[in-house]
């Protein structure tokens, strides 16, 4: 784990060398989801509600998902940009080092400019929380935190799966964007507004439902039940990353260098 923080620190310092560029790119990252959120706001101004969900409830969902996305893009960027490692043969070098490939790929790249996006979604989250009447308790606060953690794990899991595909395809695949960018766009609304098959797919195959739907009910006080059970749902979602890691190990075993 120590080596991971070392990687983190080196990348941070190297990105800070181009300070103006860093700030400008972060600003850019701030404004991209901003228009998406503005669009959401205007839709609620027009329609008032979406299948019974009010604006601030959806904003809460939006904030959590976008924060999870920004964090996973910042810290798991190495997997996102993995195809270039395979294509130019850099991955061979990682294999001969006495550390796990997972840590090394994870540490191969960080995108600190995503803090702009993180800040934007954090502002949305805080705005939503101050406008919602939630009876706070420790369990609820922990649930909120776990929702975000679970979101990060799920997005990272998708990045890992996409990276594993690169062992066979060499090129990165655009289709994977369906699950990362598409997953983010979809999960910014509570899952039950979609058709059954979408809801099922994104609960049981890629468990976004455990991030933005079931625990959301509990936090907003929309249903009663065992509190601990609801708190643990996001944790179940985080388990998604385990099969992803297994697939990754399998992929590494079947890696054939491109030779370049």
């Amino acid at each position: 784990m120590g080596i991971y923080f070392k990687y983190l620190w080196i990348h941070f310092k190297s990105q800070m060398e181009y300070r103006t560029s860093f700030w400008l790119l972060s600003m850019g990252q701030f404004f991209i989801p901003f228009t998406v959120f503005a669009g959401l706001y205007f839709l609620f101004e027009q329609f008032g509600q979406i299948r019974g969900w009010k604006f601030f409830e959806v904003a809460l969902c939006f904030g959590i998902i976008h924060m999870a996305f920004a964090l996973s893009e910042c810290f798991a960027r190495g997997f996102d940009a993995f195809s270039s490692l395979v294509r130019n043969g850099e991955f061979d070098r990682l294999l001969v080092r006495p550390r796990t490939t997972f840590i090394q790929v994870l540490g191969s790249k960080f995108e600190f400019t995503r803090f702009g996006r993180l800040l934007q979604s954090a502002v949305v989250l805080v705005w939503a929380l101050t406008n919602l009447d939630i009876e706070w308790s420790v369990v609820k606060a922990v649930t909120l935190l776990l929702m975000m953690v679970s979101g990060i794990f799920i997005f990272t899991g998708i990045y890992i799966l996409a990276a594993t595909l690169c062992f066979w395809t060499i090129e990165g695949l655009e289709v994977v964007n369906i699950f990362t960018d598409g997953g983010r766009e979809m999960a910014q609304y509570p899952l039950n507004i979609y058709q059954k098959w979408v809801t099922r797919f994104f609960t049981f195959v890629i468990p976004f439902g455990t991030v933005n739907y079931l625990p959301l009910f509990y936090i907003l006080g929309k249903n009663s039940g065992n509190e601990i059970y609801y708190m643990l749902i996001p944790l179940a979602g985080s388990l998604f990353i385990l099969p992803c890691l297994l697939v990754w190990q399998f992929g590494v075993k079947h890696y054939r260098s491109t030779g370049s």
Partner: protein, 267 residues
Amino acid sequence: MRVHLSVLKLRMNIGMQYRTAALAGVATQFFWGFITIMVFEAFYEHASTTPPISLKELITYIWLQQAFLVFITMWFRDNELFDLITSGNIAYELCRPCELYGFWYAKLLAQRLSSAFLRCFPILIISFFLPKPYNMTMPPSFLAFLLFLCALILGLLLLVSISMFLYISVFVTLSPMGSLLVFSVLGEFFAGLIIPVPLMPEWLQIAANVLPFRWTADFPFRVYSGHISQHDAIIGIIIQLIYLLGLIWLGRAALNKVLRKVVVQGG
């Protein structure tokens, strides 16, 4: 003009090579289209007042948006041109015996056209045969269809003339990131990619009408779905023409001006 046509043809042929990439793009756009439609479906279900655009028109609008996505997006760009400008290889381009504006215009136009050719037909054909609420519908009349084609082509020409400014700005800033960001965030929002223009609040619609972005894609799609009447469509086409001529004139003047100042440092 003949030079421009052959550049157009050549670039089209190059663009048509990337068929697998286009296929992957089509899959992504289908998913995107479905998600967007379901969100709007959920919004429409309990709408208290009648929304300014019907769900049927909106679904057609979204499929057209997905089919002709490259006619809207600013991030669909030519990195080669950016590299030319920043690396100084622009000198070669200046040696060519034809005007740079027209040459680049034809190049950019061809890229968008070839990409759209590969993507639009599968999306349009499949979206016609989708089950009921999700399917795309025919235009209300043949005349509306002709007006749509006319508006779509003018919209594409207009978009290319807007994107030319992106490349011109790189002469000044030397890095495409900033202008790309401003153009794509503003351009895509006001072209109705995030929410359709009729669903925006009044004051934003006024802003969208004044800016050129809406006329590239939002306008032709609404002509197709019948949301804009034929009479208004003809007026709209005239506005498109005025914008197009104005922007080409302005872009050409701006390009010639930056070219006069351009400094190529050997190497």
